[in-house]
């Protein structure tokens, strides 16, 4: 409890006495961030499948597997953050329908089981059957289990794979929008908190999710190509850059609209939010999220729309852009989650937040949660490499 006494000294102005401790820390920053990466990566994959943007083919499977790896992890920081993690099942057994959070368990399961796993399964079933025949021992057994015993690879069955997979993807697009728009609603529906309570919040969360997910696939595609020592498909990378640019413009516009609206309406909470933005959040909002995460990527990608430099310049630039966007969106989540708790609901003062290194809510733990999806992805890529697919 020492840290609370320390924070008590740093209180600025007046806050309600129960408000000294921030209840949602770094783990809850990670939750919308990771969920957003899932939704964004999935939407990129569906661009290829449903909207027939064939130039994106090289990243289709990667985007799907990325979404899966991150979705598996997405729920873990949330559960470990609970005061009673072993009671988490209650959210499934007695969901309180009035709560924005209650449906999360079902949305999550729907998205994981019905959308992502099914789409990947339909996509890989043919290969799983072939691989099970070709490999030996342990790996063979895993492939066998993954086929779920459906080993029919007649052209008719394969046509069904294609057809059913397509249907699942079409269902998947609104599901991805639902998953992340809904995460935004968890924050946007809290009328007690003027920093969160905006009808634009789900839309902003969704667009920034798409931005971050696209940037993540871009980043991973470059890294994996580099590790595998294969040539990057520049047409594909340029296309991803184009979509990133487009969604980034939309995201930037809506977030700006949100701020302009707040400034112009200047409601009761305006003064305290003004102080928050210019004080405790000025670096993370203006420099990290605004300049580095939005403006610089926009300028670079915008220039590429007018003039495409040589590959040698474009590749490091795309790498830089994807990293900046990932960094910026993380701080967008930070500014929402942490920023929304720094000011008192009395609008008369601020508490402070210091990220500790160790502990369940510390920086190192957050790092573990952030590295874990990459490890899972490496494993999945080893098990079901998209570049060894039979159909490719």
């Amino acid at each position: 409890m020492e840290h609370l006494y320390e924070m008590l000294k740093q209180v600025d102005g007046y806050i309600y006495p129960n408000e000294i401790e921030l209840h949602w820390g770094i783990l809850i920053v990670l939750y919308p961030y990771i969920t957003g990466l899932v939704a964004g990566a999935f939407i990129l994959a569906s661009l290829e499948r449903v909207f027939k943007i064939k130039v994106l083919r090289p990243t289709y499977h990667l985007a799907l597997l990325t979404a899966l790896s991150f979705l598996i992890v997405a729920i873990l920081p949330l559960v470990t953050h609970l005061g009673h993690p072993f009671r988490a099942y209650e959210i499934m057994t007695t969901p309180q329908v009035g709560s924005a959070m209650a449906i999360f368990g079902f949305v999550y399961l729907w998205y994981l089981m019905v959308v992502l796993l099914l789409e990947i399964w339909f996509d890989y079933r043919h290969d799983l059957v072939v691989w099970a025949d070709q490999s030996k021992g342990f790996k063979r057994r895993i492939y066998k289990i993954l086929t779920l015993g459906v080993t029919d690879i007649s052209p008719k069955a394969l046509a069904w794979d294609e057809k059913l997979g397509y249907i699942v993807t079409v269902i998947g697009i609104p599901s991805a929008f639902l998953l992340h728009g809904y995460v935004g609603f968890i924050f946007g529906s809290i009328k007690a908190n003027p920093w969160w309570s905006t009808v634009l919040m789900p839309v902003i969360f969704l667009l920034s999710a798409m931005v971050s997910g696209i940037a993540l696939v871009m980043f991973l595609y470059m890294i994996i190509s580099w590790i595998r020592k294969v040539k990057i498909d520049m047409a594909c990378l340029d296309e991803i850059g184009k979509f990133l640019f487009m969604v980034l413009i939309l995201d930037f516009t809506l977030e700006s609209l949100d701020q302009v609206h707040r400034i112009y309406e200047a409601e009761e909470s305006f003064e305290i939010l003004h102080m928050l933005v210019n004080g405790k959040l000025n670096i993370t909002l203006f420099v990290f999220q605004g300049l580095m995460g939005t403006i610089i990527p926009l300028v670079i990608l915008g220039l590429f729309r007018m003039y495409l430099p040589k590959e040698k310049i474009r590749i490091p630039m795309y790498f830089l852009v994807s990293n900046l966007v990932l960094f910026g969106v993380f701080f967008m989540r930070w500014n929402v989650v942490i920023g929304g708790q720094l000011f008192s609901k009395s609008f008369l003062g601020f508490t402070s937040f210091k990220l500790g290194m160790i502990g369940a809510e510390g920086f190192l733990m957050a790092l573990v949660w952030m590295i874990m999806p990459f490890l899972i992805l490496s494993f999945i890529l080893w098990l079901v490499p998209p570049w060894k697919k039979h159909s490719e």
């Binding site: 309180q96 329908v97 069955a157 069904w160």
Partner: protein, 151 residues
Amino acid sequence: MPPQLKTLLPLLAVFICIFLVARHFLIPESFGKYGHYRADSMDETAAIPINYVGKEACAECHDTETAKLASDLHSVLSCEICHGPGALHVADAEKGILLKPGTREFCGTCHSINPARRTEVINQIDTKEHHPEKDNCIDCHNPHAVWELKE
């Protein structure tokens, strides 16, 4: 029917069945009796033992003090404002020792001068300047009958 669905649909059915069975056993018995919550939790909250017993409980033994208190300005006060919660004392008079404060600081929580206090509601005194030769307020004032001054 495609062979894929022949496997997937039964799997889904099994999954839903397992969920429904688990749900049946995991929901507490009294859940949903009045609303979307565990009705027993209200009884559990109601069963928490009390600590503040109220003036009537004090009066059962301490009738002289209660009578005296009723005679003066402190008549509306509950005994436990100054003496602290009395449940332990009622259960065992030896163990549940009650407070007997009467310092300038303690009386000052109500009676020290503060512009936020209305003079028509409470008598206020400069707790530092008022008879500095005495240590505590109760050296002169009887807290049960404040205008019955000693000496």
